[in-house]
Amino acid sequence: MKKFAYELFLLGLIGVVFAIAAILDPRFLSKNVQLELSSEIWELGLLTLGMTLVIITAGIDLSVGSAMGLCSVSLGLCMHANLPTWLCALACLVTGLTAGALNGSLVAFMKVHPLLVTLATYGMYRGFAEGLQSATTNAPVDASEGIKSLAAGTFPLVPLLFAALTVWTAILLGRTAAGRGLYAIGHNEEAARFSGIPIAKLKFWIYTYTGLLAGLAAISYSARRSATAEAGMVIELDVISAVVIGGTSIEGGRGRIAGTLLGVLLIHETRQFVDWYWQRSELTLIVIGTLLILAVLGHRFLFAQNPKTR
């Protein structure tokens, strides 16, 4: 289908990665390996859901990784205080929600450019995370059994949650008035306003939603590793890259969750395979950076015949 041409192109690229893997080291493709490596993907995936909405409105959120760190530390502090698991998780989510809401209100109600807001909160949230951790526990907290069972138990809670949120976000974007409003804002905020679309409200909620997702991602991370200020370090680069590779336009107005999922998958598989086969962390960086630029170039020259069409 022509509408999904770019998504097919991404699928093709993922196929290429798999093909290269099949030639160089087929073990990488075994079900077991893929399943095990997939534990890395959920946090990235969760964050991209919110980021897709944000970028569709021509916004950006650089602070997701830092917010995730802050959430993880607040989770750790609660566990340190021996609070019940559900309360710890709640505190983590509330932290994320608050961080997102701060971004959201500055962007939506104060009308500060999102790049400026989140550039500032990027440093601020991480600073608070590090400050909190070093001033109180001074060490990462090993996740409690309760939290661990959320992520590492037999029941795949995080993947299921991710799947549910993906469906929900996709429906929101494709099938609701709010979603249509987000696209309208991304293309032309002024006209959207004149059409009676509640711009401030929508913007506020998508940044807040992104913050909430950072909280969820922090729970997942802390369960896998530990509750630490390091959580989510530089993940924002991957999140933005995945969303953009997935075909969402950084200029706003264009993008789909399906593309984002493929973008996440492409980044994930590429990174994992380059790490797996060549064992050189630097090379991975070079490959991912190049992939990002090439994907956007590809989108421009292969799929956008007319720069105006979306």
Partner: protein, 317 residues
């Protein structure tokens, strides 16, 4: 008021100096020169990034680029293996050329590839970081010839500061006194109108990106000259600091508006925050919050302006 932003930045600088003076009477006398010298890399690169943002684009690859160029310079100059021991006066032009070419390449991606600049430079931010680590291989590179170190420390004259002042003055002249400068603003202000006025948007953008590359190479040179050490973390995070300085300095992120003076003040302000905090008796607990405090200050700087601007324009869209 036309110089509103500059005035408020100046007041902030004054307030911070005063605050630090409360803790140490000779703060201003002892630290002015050092703060200026410490601000050099940010200052030089901000001049370039400012022009890029004025044209309505952005460059967030400068941190990684500085790291890569510093690594190249180090490998060329270092007198100890794996350094090649090339004379600095030969090596520096090479590095400046490489920097300019990479900047030009970025420009081409943006202008001819029509990749949005934030994405193009994000890709480069990641890829050049990897390239730097790749190139450095083992560990820190030290042992630079004295001619190079002299640019950063050696003699009584702060050559690097004088050089930076020259760069700032030249940028100021470019902005205000040359046709090119006005055209940079014109492109950022209204690109289709600029096209109709016969201005080549492509050339202007290529120029500002290439210039940013060149200035980043200069900053890399002075960085190596001053610190005498290049590591794989050299330059990391600098791009965010530079963009912060540029926007706090009053350059509109959408392009077309803002003055160099504001940026210069913002660079000094943001560089001195660290020193001022160092001079305040924060105590061993509070010092752990230093990064958070810096973050809050930047958030305040970035948003406070929007409050005052909104009051000024009366809230209409």
């Amino acid at each position: 008021m036309k110089y509103r932003r500059e005035a408020s930045l100046l007041i902030l600088v004054a307030v911070l100096s005063l605050l630090a003076t409360l803790f140490d009477g000779s703060f201003v006398r002892d630290n002015t020169l050092d703060i200026l010298i410490n601000s050099i890399p940010t200052m030089i690169i901000s001049c370039g990034v400012m022009l890029v943002i004025i044209t309505g684009e952005i460059d967030i690859s400068v941190g990684s680029l500085l790291g890569l160029l510093a690594a190249i310079l180090a490998l060329l100059c270092s007198t100890v293996s794996p350094g090649l021991g090339i004379h600095p006066y030969l090596a520096i032009p090479i590095v400046l050329t490489i920097g300019t070419l990479i900047g030009l390449g970025t420009g081409c991606l943006v202008v001819y590839g029509r990749v949005p600049s934030i994405i193009a430079t994000l890709g480069l931010l990641i890829a050049l970081d990897g390239a730097q680590d790749w190139l450095m291989g083992g560990g820190d590179i030290k042992h630079f010839p004295q001619q190079l170190r002299n640019l950063g420390t050696g003699t009584k004259l702060p050559i690097n500061l004088i050089f930076t002042i020259l760069v700032v003055v030249a940028t100021g002249l470019l902005c205000r006194k040359t046709a090119l400068g006005r055209r940079i603003y014109a492109v950022g202000s209204n690109r289709s109108a600029a096209r109709l006025a016969g201005i080549s948007e492509a050339k202007i953008k290529l120029f500002v990106f290439a210039l940013t590359g060149l200035l980043t190479a200069m900053a890399a040179t002075l960085w190596v000259a001053k610190l005498g050490n290049v590591s794989t973390s050299t330059g990391a995070g600098l791009e965010l600091k530079v963009v912060t300085c540029v926007v706090v300095g009053g350059i509109a992120i959408r392009g077309g508006r803002g003055r160099l003076l504001g940026v210069v003040l913002a660079v000094i302000l943001i560089t001195m925050i660290r020193t001022v905090l160092n001079f305040m008796d924060l105590g061993s607990e509070a010092v752990k919050w230093q990064r958070a405090i810096e973050g809050v200050m930047i958030l305040v700087a970035v948003t406070s302006d929007h409050f005052s601007q909104r009051q000024q324009s009366g809230g209409s869209s």
